[in-house]
Structure formats: C-alpha cells, structure tokens
Symmetry: C2
Subunit: 128 residues, 2 copies
C-alpha cells in the first residue's frame, strides 16, 4: 500500500479508537492480530481496548509522530488522562498523568497484523 494510504488508514483507525466505535475495528485490525508477540486475535485486541476505556474513562489518543513505509507505521502517541484506579500496576486513583506510547504496526492486506508497543511507565511513575 502506498505510504499516504497507510497513513490515512492509520488516522482513520485512531479516529475509530477515539470515537470508541469498536464495531468498526475489523476494518483496521486483522482477525489474527498479534500484540507484542502474543496472538491475541481481533476479539482479544478489542477486549484490551475495552479494558483501557474502562480503566481510563477520559482516554484519548493523540498522534505526535508518524513514520510510514509501504508496509509499516510507527507512531508516538501522547496521553493526558486520569486513570480511575490501577494502571500498569500503578495506583493512579484518578490523578492526572501524561505519558507516551511508541508503537509499531505491521500491515498485511491493508490491516494491522502485528503490533509492537511500549508505554512509558517510568514517565507515569515520575508523576506519582
């Protein structure tokens, strides 16, 4: 897929996440998606997002950086939010925290097949 199309599809994916319109997730994510080496599948991926929405009621994905080639996207996402209770094993309890996620997506047939994500937990700890 040309880079521009991939970047455009990626921004539609992020909009879908921000609209919490998970019925449309399969437009962007492959049935056999793997997350950090684990074959979670589309249902598991959706459950993970639902867990995020539950843990972080004001979760919003903001794209700081995107780098794309013909088959992959790398993005730096920023979050400024108030997790309600525990998040990443930390007791946040409604405090406001800002942090980033650097994440790679490998696309197959126009959909996300492999995700390699790292969330900046140390940045959150530094704010607690």
């Amino acid at each position: 897929m040309p880079e521009d199309d991939l970047v455009s599809a990626y921004h539609r994916y992020i909009a879908c996440l921000n609209e919490r319109d998970l019925g449309r997730l399969r437009e962007f994510v492959a049935e056999d998606v793997e997350y950090n080496g684990r074959p979670v599948g589309l249902a598991g991926y959706r459950a993970m997002l639902e867990g995020n929405y539950r843990d972080i009621p004001d979760l919003k994905f903001s794209v700081q950086l995107v780098v794309a080639d013909t088959a992959s996207i790398a993005a730096r996402l920023n979050f400024d939010c108030t997790p309600a209770g525990r998040f990443l094993g930390l007791d946040i309890d409604g405090r406001r925290v800002s942090f980033s996620e650097n994440v790679f997506y490998e696309f197959v047939d126009g959909r996300i097949r492999y995700v390699w994500s790292v969330v900046d937990k140390a940045a959150i700890e530094a704010q607690l």
Copy 2:
C-alpha cells in the same frame, strides 16, 4: 535524505554504539540534540551512553524493526543483557533481562536532532 541513505546511516550509528566508538558519535548526532524533549546536547548524549555502558557491561543494540521516511527513523531495539546494579530504578544486580526500546529519531542535515525513546520497563519488572 532518501530513505535508503537514512537507514544506512542509522545502521552505521548502531554499529558505532556497539563498537563503543563514541569519538565518532558526532558523525551521526547533532551538536544540539534533544532527548525526550530535553536539550541534552552531544556531550550530554555521549555521557548518557557512557552511563549505559557502565551500568550494563554487556550492552548490545539489536535492531528488530526499522521504519523510515525522508527525515525520520523509527526503530524497535532489543536488548538481552545483565545490568550490574540498578537500571531504570530497578535492582537488577547482574540478573539477565530481555527488553525492548521503541525509539524515534528526527534527522536534520543528516544527523540525529530529536530522539523520542520509550524503554519497556514493565517487561523488565515482569522478569524480576
């Protein structure tokens, strides 16, 4: 810079780090480099790497993924190493740990000017 040249320069940069040949760092890194929003400069960047070599005697950078456009590189780096004492605020004390770093580099005039890095601290904690 064409993507291929940028990727080639990036692999030479990683080779330089693995050879610990920091006298050559200025070939790849700008004098006014910023790291995660902090203007550390070339000297600060070099000091950070020297600190890493000291904390992790067997540190070796392995590139899992690279995504490049004309001005930026995103890379997922893997590490399999034995930090001697504390690392990222964790008492590792010579235990062997595997973890990843997802990192973005924005190039200006052929050299790294902005670095946005996230190290997977949670993955290390899960191994302790």
